[in-house]
Amino acid sequence: MTAPLLQVDELRVTFDIRPPGAWPWTPSLKLQAVGGVSLQLAPGEALGIVGESGSGKSTLARAIIGTIPSTGGRVIFDGRDLTTMDPATRRRHRRDVQMIFQDPLAALNPRMNVGDIIAEPLLTHEPGLGRKAARRQAAELMERVGLLPNLINRYPHEFSGGQCQRIGIARALILRPRLLICDEPVSALDVSIRAQVVNLLKDLQREFGVAMIFIAHDLSVVRHVSDRILVMYLGKMMEVAPARALIATPRHPYTKALIAAVPIPDPLREKARPRPVLEGELPSPLNPPSGCVFRTRCPIARPSCAEGPPAVLNPGPGHFVACPWIDEA
């Protein structure tokens, strides 16, 4: 295996929450959004991250890119540890990692026209380039993502959600990054637009040879894009496997439930199949369950699950499951 482009070791993100009506001396509550997640990404690889809302997917992405400070662990990008880098050096390395956001309109500055929005990253990193040349590159990229270049002087609010997301994609790609983080890029889009944007992302990823972390709460979207899929629950890794293996032979009880929740577009088969529905709600991350965080909703939980973090098994090549009971269930 080639050297990983990105290596994340035991990354932790903890937020301090001030309880309502707190005195200045009351200790703040600790909310652990990401509780020690490790992952590796090869150059040009696409990794999907799935999990329900509140599982820490977005926080993980933002900690990797550095807009949220991490409280533990390391993020090694291309052999350099980003978490210990001083801010100025860090800023210069920003061009290698770019991001696409969930709300396409909110991610675009309403006071700038499309050309300037797409060209802005280029001008920040190469101030000598000149606005005209940068805008010419922006126009080329607009064409590549399926926007008419003659719309370059329009403002974001004149575009539809799907078009705004294409603008966001063009802005993320103009620096030719080596890692692209997509934070639920299609969740806010209309279903009919979703497929187009997902396919565009997939095409561009191949064309530019960029590695990608694709976050979504919808397995059916993720499996189209990803080479590997990581399943998160309450800030912890549950299972990671090559996309095909994860969909065909899910091992972790949580992954099984997630896959069962994807509807089959055939009413007869949909009615006939058994559906293990998860009971209860996601526990509060302020007070997570001891041991395995999934045990409160797990159909195969045992008393010993509460004692410590679950052992990680390796049932297949590149397949890791954080549950010791998968072979017995």
Binding site: R62, I65, T67, R91, R92, R94, R95, V97, Q98, M99, F101, Q102, D103, A106, A107, L108, N109, P110, R111, N113, E120, P121, T124, H125, E143, L148, P149, N150, L151, I152, N153, R154, Y155, G168, R171, L175
Partner: protein
Amino acid sequence: MSVADTEKPISPLVENWHYFTHSRGALVGLIVFMFMVVVALISPWIAPHDPAVQYRDAFLVPPVWEDGGQWKFILGTDSVGRDLLSRIMVGARYSLLIGLVVVAMSLTSGIVVGLIAGFVGGRTDTIIMRIMDILLAFPSLLLALVLVAILGPSLFNAMIAIAVTNLPHFSRLTRGEVMGQKGLDYVTATRVAGASRLRLMFRTILPNCLAPLIVQGTLAFSNAILDAAALGFLGMGAQPPTPEWGTMLADAREYITSAWWVVTMPGLAILVTVIAINLIGDGLRDALDPKLKRS
């Protein structure tokens, strides 16, 4: 795709002008205000008399339409025989200058202070905002009086004092806007693209916070004129014989019952200017608030 096909940008400025002119009141306000500005600019040439010259044979002459009025003094004269019309025309210079300088000073300093407080947050924010709260806790005119007393009574010191009392309003408004914008994805996107903190603050966030600040600025403009008039009335602003409107009111208060025009004319000038500017402010608020826009 050739360059010729590229659409002309509809700049936000043109668009906002379109909405601004939709409101009749705002347009009237703008016309009155422009008239005031023109009069103020060319007052030395169009004023019928020198505002400081005392006509010893014409004390307290009433306006032309009253019994005993003279065409020589259209709005009458004051207690020492100075022409009121000329004084009001030249006084417009001072009042508009006060508004302009006060708004410029308090707007720039308020934006810088509020931007730092909102963007940096944490302890810096707490310290800055508590200082602003202390400034807000004083009655604004009293605070201005104290500042003028310390600095010495003059028109420029009065402007500084009024600017200081306006500062908390601008910094609070800026801080609130900045905190609202800071969490939005476009700011994160610009940060991810590698923008520096200064660029984020002034180029990315600030333009998106300007709309309410412009509105507050216009309203502060008229307030500054009123405050300066109040300080002038109390003898702490412009010093006689400067024909500043508030100072003119103060000089005339003994004649409120006997010669009403001496106090009414500068009062009317203040009233008309302030109403015009407030109308502009309301129009701007409607034009700049996207929620009030009709397609």
